[in-house]
Amino acid sequence: MLIRHAPDLTDNDVTDRSLYLRRREFIGGAAGLGLLAAAGTASARGLAYKPGFSTTETPTPKKDITSYNNFYEFGVNKEDPSENAGSLKTRPWTVRVDGECEKPASFAIDDLIKGQKLEERIYRMRCVEGWSMVIPWVGFPLKDLLAQVKPTSKARFVAFETLMRPSEMPGQRWDTLAWPYREGLRIDEAVHPLTILAVGLYGDVLPNQNGAPLRLVVPWKYGFKGAKSIVRISLVEKQPATAWNVLAPREYGFYSNVNPAVDHPRWSQATERRIGEFRRRETLPFNGYGQYVADLYRGMDLKRNF
């Protein structure tokens, strides 16, 4: 796939001073991944930094990113995941990649991570509830993993299935959502270079409450599209069912692109509160990633396909 450069990218952006000044943090990040290796979970491959994809906005404090979560498998309150996710065992962990592909495979999570080139991606995250964060993920493009199984021409969508384990996920003992949590992307969204599978946060192992050991991050969509604790990724021909859409189809569409022009019945999507800030700020179409992704939806009525 052609990686488009931002039309406003100039030579100055290549060695962005604020990023240059933060270089030690990235080295620190690499060291953090070294910790991953020490824990027998992954090998550090260093961080390749892509200035076009990461935002230069100040990341939200780690404490907030790891204590204010929507992860209903561990409870519906924001503090529940950080309080209850400690019981989740993320090793051993197998991820099945199958469906419309030539080489379906099951990966032990550590082998899967070892096979990828990890990068730091500092992305905005906009929750459908009207708040947002800036999160320094560590991960790899989903497309790199999909390429390994060689999708066929029938693969038009990608379905994500997450862990079903009520013994360790107390929220699953009650049918708030149709467990296990499912998400889906169109294939062109899935192989878009912005779409990553995250395995780390702030240069360290991904905390359980943030979706360990493997979660999806699609920064131009509402946060709930980022399936957590993924166990299966299937290439499929038909648009897959997604958890929130099944619960309330009028409120949560399949696409769920961040769109200030399409109101949610509970929340205006015109503005958002960045965690740590007092005043609300304007929400940007596609969460500010329109220059990279708007073309994917050319000709589509985004008010109907919300």
Partner: protein, 211 residues
């Protein structure tokens, strides 16, 4: 009120000092949630999104106090403590204060007085439409809560007006229910308490008619 209850009330009337102490305790109890919230805010214990916590907590306490207000009459009758009824106005006005504060933090802090957005919220978001309706209906009850107004309106019309509370509290519960995304158990607990309190009144009215 039948004669035996009246007699019981007279005989159990406590001393003035004790009465004042009980009043002070009720006031302190009504202020406690606010004080606790202020303390948490002061010590930085409201988490990543303190504005949301403050709005929700104050709103939930407004709803709880409204339910406590509705519980007083049945409690006074069942426990045969008719003087409990004197706390109805205090509790009701505290409930109104919490509801006002809830609205004020939403409009003033969350929306930062963005009136256009407020109007859109009222028109487009059913939970806000109903919540706002509940607040508007609550205002005349707060205004006419004084003894002077009871006399001015006459007891019968005053009571008819204050019957609005049987509409307002359900609006509050539905307001909460519609806000919740998936796990409706917490608002359903409030709905169940409300159902018991209203159900008791229906049962009571039916008993009286039969008697």
């Amino acid at each position: 009120m039948d004669a035996s209850v009246k007699r019981a009330a007279r005989s159990k009337r406590p001393s003035k000092t004790r009465d004042n102490l009980v009043y002070a305790a009720v006031w302190l109890a009504c202020f406690a949630p606010l004080a606790w919230l202020a303390w948490r805010a002061f010590s930085g214990d409201l988490g990543a999104n303190p504005i949301e916590v403050v709005i929700r907590q104050i709103g939930v306490w407004g709803l709880r106090l409204l339910l406590v207000g509705l519980a007083i009459t049945p409690a006074a009758r069942i426990l045969k403590r008719p003087r409990l009824v004197r706390f109805r106005r205090t509790i009701g006005l505290f409930a109104f204060s919490y509801v006002c504060l809830h609205l004020l933090t939403y409009v003033g802090v969350d929306l930062f007085f963005d009136w256009g957005q407020l109007w859109n919220d009222i028109l487009k978001r059913p939970f806000i439409t109903l919540g706002m309706a509940g607040f508007v209906l609550l205002v005349p009850l707060a205004v006419t809560s004084t003894n002077g107004w009871v006399i001015r309106l006459g007891r019968a019309s005053w009571q008819r007006l204050h019957g609005l509370i049987y509409l307002i509290v359900p609006l509050g519960v539905v307001h909460y229910y519609l806000l919740v995304k998936a796990d409706h158990r917490p608002p359903l607990v409030y709905a169940a308490v409300l159902a018991v309190l209203l159900g008791w009144r229906l049962w009571d009215a039916w008993q009286r008619r039969r008697a």
